[in-house]
Amino acid sequence: MAVSLLSRLAASTTVPVFAVTGGGGCPLVSSLRTDPRARLVASPRHAAVLVIAGTLPPRLVGPVQSIHDQMPHPRFTALAGTQEDPTNWGKAVVADSSDPIQSVVDGFRALVAGRHASEPDWLPDSPPAEWRGVGPFGQGGEGMMGGKPFGRPMAEMAPDRDGLMLDALNVGVGPFHPALPPGLELRLELHGDVVADVGLQPNPYLELGKPAEKSYALFEQAQREAVPIARVETLRAAHLLGTIASAVEVAGLESLGRRLRTRAADPSGGDQRGLSRLRRALIAGVRWSARGVVRLPAEELQGSGLGPTARASGVEEDARLDDAGYLRLGFAPITRSSGDCLDRLLQMLDEAEQALELASKAGTGSTSGNVVEGVHGVPGSGSSPALLSLIEEHVPGLEWSDAVSFIASLGVDLQDIALAERRVVE
């Protein structure tokens, strides 16, 4: 009786989900953030359901397997929008494409009620190092200091900033760290909580054959032919609002993120007052965490084509300035001056507002059909990988939370970058 009551209560909780994003999975993950039936959690330890959204490139399969195995029992996996054979993923549930979140909820209820068995590990249950017969953990030495306890050596010493010899932690972070863009995998040398060195792993989404993200198709189309300005700009506003939402969620402002996402789902739906309320909440919320963090100098971004990131530092470059369709609307790029994390977020909000204004003014007007400013600048110009080199250049020396806010303020979207890089190759 008591046990069944506990089960019934447990089954009716909002479903704790850890989501991993494959090609084309962004919209689902974004809707998981706003859906009241589920909540996205920061660690697989807090999750019951692993949602694999979209098609995973081969590079990401290993990490996803290890994340799956880190989840506590009972657990299950839901595949949504994937083109893969589900039998590769054990007993994973294939989510209904019309309402994938409902499939996740139903699966969770069945799991808690005991109608579904919890999924076993996907990886072999073997210790990271072999049992060597010596020491309390078979590590081949005494205590923590000898050999490799549990297969991991102790950290090596490295000179500290203050001239001390302390341990440097070499860790890989990502590709699915909750505060980093999906797919971004960093190799860090950590000195305490300060990043001493950073290296980026290759963009995993480059391995996918064709861009699956439908929403990008319009920007791609705009490189070849004339498309309605209203559509391009509405899409831009939605993208920018979504990017700000991710950044504020990283800063712990879940509610503001949700408001931004609601607006991003229907950018032209609300009024101007709604946007200014969002602006006030944004400034109040992130002022302390974003102001003065990583000022990017204008000289560094001149000619980089980095779109909002460059304009936040005062670089007045915008491909829309070369487009007769936009000039007719009286388009003039917005810029800011200081180029810190706060400015980058406000720049994106300004540009979202401007995009909506352009969309409403444009009527049936079209772009001229040669080039259009993309989400991160000009797609096809090879600009977007520059965003990644900004990370490599500016993250060393930052405290980890600053590194995270900096990366979030860049609006890195590895799927978009893969698209841009592929165009260069073509």
Binding site: R45, P72, L190, G252, R258, R259, G285, S289, D402
Partner: protein, 310 residues
């Protein structure tokens, strides 16, 4: 009434304060989050913490490869007793206070210090990078707000001429400390948010650390941790109500009701602040605490001292 019966009654009051208070605080927190997100709170929130707790009770409690098992267990289980100990110090009426020490705020300070140990130990035990960073971060966060809390408590002790918390309430008869020491409550809000690490001061368990000291925590372990964190929020709010809003003092209603009402007011203030602000940078909070808040604490102490003099 026999001594045992009155003891049982007082234990029940502490349990009620922690249990009901923490539950209400959790519901309020999610209601404020919903309102902040532009969604109506809805009645489902009332059962949400119970449902989540039931789920966590059913979840497996995992451990990491080579954890400090004992440290982990002690740390997770340590937060709730500390909150309970602090709760026993709060006077509920002129006669009703479980632990009426002559030096009440000294014990309060000890609880604050032990919270640092517990959170650090929890960050350290799982032998996991992000959890470890969370633990070390909390130490400096706590070093930065603890002094402030000591100044606020000492300032409240000046007019009482005593370190007893009950005495601090009694001397607010007539005029509460909120009026006599106007800087105190805003400073105390910082301490409430910091000690229960929420919102802007969720440095140890933040999203940038994938949950920080809770990154490896699941099942009962996580349930107990949250069941210690929420009471801390309530108990520190209750202390704020006691030393600034006159605790149980008030007309018509019995003392415990006044404590509950005033605690709710302070709690709401703290939750709204925590909801509106993003997580601070550790560095800038430390700098702000030492170069802005601490001097404000000095001014507060000075002002309270001058006001207390006859």
């Amino acid at each position: 009434m026999s001594a045992v019966a009155s003891w049982a009654l007082e234990v029940a009051a502490v349990v009620l304060m922690l249990g009901v208070g923490a539950y209400a605080a959790t519901v309020l927190e999610s209601a404020i989050a919903r309102i902040g997100a532009g969604v109506s709170p809805g009645p489902t929130l009332l059962l949400a913490p119970l449902r989540k707790a039931a789920w966590l009770a059913k979840q497996q409690t995992v451990r990491t490869e080579r954890p400090d098992v004992i440290g982990w267990m002690v740390a997770t289980a340590g937060l709730l007793p500390l909150a309970a100990l602090a709760a026993s110090l709060i006077p509920l009426s002129s006669t009703w206070v479980m632990a009426d020490f002559e030096s009440g705020i000294v014990l309060w300070g000890a609880v604050e210090a032990l919270i640092i140990v517990v959170v650090f130990l929890r960050g350290w035990s799982p032998n996991s990078t992000f959890s470890l960073i969370g633990g070390y971060r909390f130490v400096i966060q706590a070093f930065s707000y603890t002094l402030l809390s000591m100044f606020v408590l000492i300032a409240a002790a000046l007019p009482a001429q005593s370190l007893s918390i009950q005495q601090m309430v009694v001397t607010q008869q007539g005029l509460p400390n909120l009026v006599k020491q106007p800087l105190g409550l805003p400073l105390w809000i910082v301490i409430i948010v910091g000690v229960s690490f929420r919102g802007p001061l969720n440095l140890p368990d933040g999203r940038d650390l994938a949950g920080g000291t809770s990154v490896e925590s699941s099942g009962w372990d996580r349930l107990l941790w949250e069941a210690g964190r929420a009471p801390l929020l309530v108990v520190f709010s209750a202390m704020g109500a006691t030393i600034f809003l006159g605790g149980w003092l008030g007309p018509w209603l019995p003392g415990p009701v006044w404590v509950a009402v005033k605690t709710l007011v302070v709690l709401l203030l703290a939750l709204v602040v925590a909801q509106a602000l993003g997580r601070f940078r550790p560095e800038s909070f430390v700098e702000m605490a030492w170069t802005v808040l601490l001097p404000v604490g000095f001014i507060h102490l000075f002002q309270a001292g001058v006001t207390a003099l006859p």
